[in-house]
């Protein structure tokens, strides 16, 4: 009988406690309660979001593994499969930015090599408060150093991401991390236990008290203080894990070698909820049970209680399911890589429940044949958390905000606005190894990253793949449904710039407190927007992560769905055009010059946000833009395949609008442009996605080809000289644009 205080302290509600009693047909003991608490946490069970996530389209002929496994997997051709996963590490990073970000990288890598894939690249979308705030600076520097320190050392390149500064994240920064890996198709493994009598072997680090309760305490509750994480640091710091990239590096090599040698039948990483999660998920997926001997778990310090051992989130650990006859070979391979291994459990046969159905039981024992301290159906932990259809409510002020369109904002100082939009994130990405494995054709800082589809142990291929992560909380705050759909369009446009056709989406849904009906409405709308856009673009969702309770002092963050999209390039033997145009090139705008329903919507733009305007009407998800994306992707893909082309430069119109895209290209080229007739400042700063700036020697041919594909093309002018002139509204020296862009971030951070 619980005294009530215990289950509540562990994060379970009274109703959930009653459900546990129903599952067990008795009161749980402390250990069992702790196991349910971590597995039924929001972080592990997706209990508030799962009913919504079901609406996402997840299938396509090239999808090998969809959502629900450790990573989604697609067939990339030539016998190579790509594994993709995205996750958040928001709250740990708010408390200890270096270790929070570092262990975020470590965790996502394990999710990917669990599938048999060698992690090939990482991307990090980051969201902080304004950079002139001391705490934000501390967070930025810590998070970037953590990603750099862990990622570089573990030997996986970081090839891009996003960097967003906005007041809304001042107390609740977001640190998302995406990892892509590749594997020979036939090596695909799943995290499931099978074969009664097979051994469960714990690989990697010893288990300590770090991270205990991480999922229930840190990831599944908001920061209640008005100053967010700052007030809770001391109290919660013990549950922040410490990363060891050297351990992880040896673990990766050892696990990939074990898989190559066929020595494991299933493997699963230990992440949130630790051994409880790994054991119950592998057993549940395999329809079997598992007996665990907690005394066999190698410990970092003496005196850990069974519940601590079962819920510790100590990093750099894997659970492998191994045939007894392969144990010696596994131990030898682990010894070579100096990876600790210990048999901690056995796969057990399911037992018949009251109705005679087979149920796999997770049992925690003291000694392999010793007393049973906990006995819980694996599926009840892994799959049977209560699902909540939490109340949803359209925000009361929504209509008023949508009516408050920033179209009436005066142009102001256009040159100053443009300069303020120029930020080169190089200060961040220079700290990341972006080139390891010799695959990086287009690295960080451009529209999308482009890599060769190659790596140690992969079949030879001339194919390439592209990756981008995109988000737009400014749009999503106004209309999460349309905003999320437009975010996908923006991602597809980014991929098109490097010649890639979208193949799969993963999403990291960063939202506020799900107990606030407005937040649940935002989440539900965002899922619908993503689903609609995915159907329109023909791209499946193959995985995702939901991060809720991103709030501080009762204020929720703006809805921040982050999309990671992988695209494929048929043949990659030459680099795609960059941002550099040449003197005399014609500069052409491809895609709809005017959006719908308003031609130059400023709602949700940087221009509007800088003026404190948070409302208005977003552009429609425009089929014409999708057509433009396909046209540009095909043109660029031809260049990548080694074809001759007059196209010198390609860049899509994103944050900061067309003016910013032109300024970035001028700065990169050292060559200016005079565009005589922009239709006002709104055309310069609207961010409607699916438009491209393309520079070419032969505009007539480009315009004709575009017309043939049904794509609007507008020649803006000729690249020339040393100034960027946009009608009468602004006239700036290219050198000033370049200097401003290069130094903006370091200056903003006071470096």
């Amino acid at each position: 009988m619980s005294d009530g205080a215990l289950h509540r302290a562990l994060g379970l509600t009274d109703d959930e406690y009653a459900l546990v009693e129903g599952v067990l047909k008795r009161a749980p003991n402390h250990l069992e309660l702790a196991m349910f608490a971590v597995m039924w946490s929001e972080h592990c069970s997706y209990k508030s979001s799962r009913i919504h996530l079901r609406r996402l389209p997840t299938s396509a002929p090239w999808v090998l593994v969809g959502p629900g496994e450790n990573a989604g997997v697609i067939d990339a051709g030539d016998g190579v499969a790509i594994a993709l996963r995205i996750e958040s590490h928001n709250h740990p990073s708010a408390i200890e930015p270096y270790q929070g970000a570092a262990t975020g990288v470590g965790g996502i890598l394990r999710d990917v090599f669990t599938m048999g894939a060698r992690p090939l690249a990482v991307m990090d979308p980051l969201f902080f408060g304004p950079p002139d705030d001391a705490r934000s600076r501390w967070l930025v520097e810590g998070v970037v150093a953590g990603i750099s320190g862990y990622g570089n050392s573990v030997g996986v390149p970081t090839i891009g991401g996003e960097l967003t500064f906005d007041e809304g994240y001042a107390q609740n920064p977001l640190v998302n991390v995406l990892c892509v890996g590749a594997l020979p198709r036939e090596r695909l493994v799943l995290g499931r236990a099978s074969g009664v009598g097979n051994l469960a072997v714990l690989l990697g680090s010893r288990t300590g008290r770090d991270g205990i309760g991480g999922v229930s305490v840190l990831a599944s509750a908001g920061f209640s203080g008005a100053d967010g994480a700052a007030s809770l640091d001391d109290e919660k710091r013990p549950s922040v894990q410490v990363g060891d990239p050297y351990e992880e590096k040896r673990l990766i090599e050892a696990c990939l070698a074990l898989l190559d040698a066929g020595l494991v039948v299933g493997i699963q990483d230990l992440g949130g909820a630790g051994l409880t999660c790994a054991a119950s998920e592998t057993a549940a997926r395999g329809g079997v049970g598992m007996d665990l001997d907690f005394t066999a778990v190698p410990l970092r310090e003496a005196g850990l209680a069974p519940w601590e051992i079962m819920t510790s989130e100590s990093q750099e650990r894997m659970l492998a399911i191994v045939r007894p006859e392969d144990l010696a070979a596994l131990e030898a391979l682990c010894a070579r890589w100096e990876v600790r291994c210990a048999v901690v459990g056995r796969v057990s046969a399911p037992v018949a429940d009251a109705a005679g159905r087979p149920v796999g039981m997770v049992r925690v024992r003291e000694g392999f044949d010793g007393p049973v301290l906990a006995e819980v159906p694996a599926v009840s932990l892994a799959d049977e958390a209560p699902l909540y259809d939490r109340p949803r409510a359209r925000p009361a002020d929504l209509d008023a905000r949508r009516d408050d369109d920033p179209a009436d904002e005066p142009a102001g100082d256009v040159a100053a606005e443009l300069l303020a939009s120029l930020v080169d994130p190089a200060w961040v990405y220079r700290q990341y190894d972006s080139q390891l494995f010799l695959n990086t054709v287009v690295g960080p800082g451009r529209d999308a990253a482009l890599l060769r589809l190659a790596g140690p142990g992969l079949p030879a291929s001339e194919r390439g793949f592209a990756l981008t992560t995109d988000s737009n909380p400014r749009w999503c705050a106004i209309d999460p449904r349309a905003g999320t759909a437009l975010t996908l369009l923006e991602a597809i446009a980014n991929l098109a710039c490097v010649g890639a056709t979208p193949a799969a989406v993963v999403n990291c849904l960063n939202f506020g407190n799900p107990e606030h009906p407005e937040v649940m409405w935002q989440l539900s709308e965002a899922v619908d927007g993503l689903a609609e856009a995915c159907v329109a673009a023909g791209v499946p969702v193959i995985g995702g992560n939901v991060s809720l309770y991103n709030e501080s002092g009762g204020r929720d963050i703006d809805p921040t769905p982050v999309l990671g999209v992988v695209g494929l390039v048929e043949r990659l033997v030459a680099p795609p055009p960059g941002w550099t145009w040449r003197e005399g090139d014609a500069v052409v705008l491809l895609g709809p010059r005017e959006a719908r329903p308003d031609p130059f919507p400023l709602a949700g733009s940087l221009f509007a946000r800088r003026r404190g305007r948070r409302g208005g009407r977003l552009p429609e998800f425009d089929e014409r833009a999708l057509v433009a994306c396909r046209f540009v992707a095909a043109e660029v893909a031809r260049v990548c395949a080694g074809g001759v082309s007059d196209v010198a430069a390609v860049h899509d119109v994103g944050a900061g609008g067309l003016a910013t895209a032109l300024a970035e290209m001028s700065a990169a080229s050292g060559v200016g442009l005079a565009w005589g007739d922009p239709r006002g400042h709104a055309e310069l700063f609207t961010e409607a996605p699916g438009r491209f700036v393309v520079a070419t020697r032969d505009p007539a041919a480009l315009v004709e080809a575009a017309a043939g594909a049904g794509v609007e093309a507008t020649v803006l002018g000729l690249a020339a000289g040393a100034r960027l002139a946009l009608g009468e509204m602004c006239d700036l020296a290219v050198a000033d644009l370049a200097e401003r862009r290069a130094s903006a971030l370091a200056r903003a951070l006071g470096r």
Binding site: N152, S153, Y246, R430, Q435, L438
Partner: protein, 232 residues
């Protein structure tokens, strides 16, 4: 054809890239585990980049005690080409096979970026195919790449023509803009930049080719002279 051994310490991570690069240039390169004590099968050795033993304590500090290092020292002593790239350079200085040390970058951040290198000497197994004054675009990728040494060592490096590569625009605070040095005999070379990352225009630069081609030629020479010794 000569055989090049690429030494893998636990925590190394550029070993596959080095093998791929040398193979692309027609060389024959194989991975050698750090526990190996017999390197007699190899005509030349590469210590690749990465974080040997996690770079814990100091970069290279633990790797220098790996079993393989005695054989590496013997190969260096015997005049066989030995190349340390990035972390490999750090290991060679810790092991005393090259003078000086590598310290944290001046700006105290990791730096992954292209650099322009100027060839200062061609009297080394790495730069023998290049020309003095050549400018090569080769990326760096390190946190502790700032070369330091005392005045006497620096003078000796200059007098012995042992500075082989300098940065055109010093990114990390290295003394004398040093990017790479050789031992007095020129057969042991260490450099912080990664020539294997500059092998194809597709990846941004092909300027690393001339360096690795020179190294492979030196390996071939070592193989030929080994055959002469073996067949009197």
């Amino acid at each position: 054809m000569s055989r090049v051994g690429v030494v893998v310490f636990p925590g190394s991570n550029c070993e596959h890239d080095v093998v791929a690069a040398l193979s692309a240039l027609g060389g024959r390169a194989e991975l050698v585990w750090h526990a190996e004590t017999d390197l007699s099968a190899y005509d030349a050795l590469v210590l690749p980049g990465g974080f040997a033993h996690g770079d814990y304590l100091r970069p290279g500090a633990l790797a220098r005690f790996s079993p393989v290092m005695e054989a590496v020292a013997a190969a260096a002593e015997a005049g066989r080409p030995v190349l340390g790239i990035c972390n490999g350079f750090q290991v060679l200085t810790e092991a005393g096979l090259l003078p000086g040390a590598l310290q944290k970058n001046r700006g105290l951040t990791f730096l992954c970026q292209p650099t322009t290198l100027v060839v200062v000497s061609t009297r080394s197994v790495l730069t023998r195919a290049a020309h003095v004054g050549d400018e090569l675009v080769v990326p760096i990728n390190h946190f502790a790449g700032s070369y330091v040494c005392d005045d006497a060592t620096y003078r000796a490096l200059l007098e012995g023509d042992q500075v082989v590569l300098r940065y055109a625009d010093n990114p990390n605070g290295s003394r004398g803009d040093i990017a790479g040095i050789a031992n007095a005999a020129g057969n042991v070379v260490g450099l912080m930049p990664h020539p294997e990352r500059a092998l194809h225009a597709l990846l941004g630069s092909a300027d690393g080719r001339v360096l690795l081609e020179g190294f492979l030629a030196a390996a071939d020479d070592a193989a030929a002279s080994a055959r002469l010794v073996a067949a009197p």
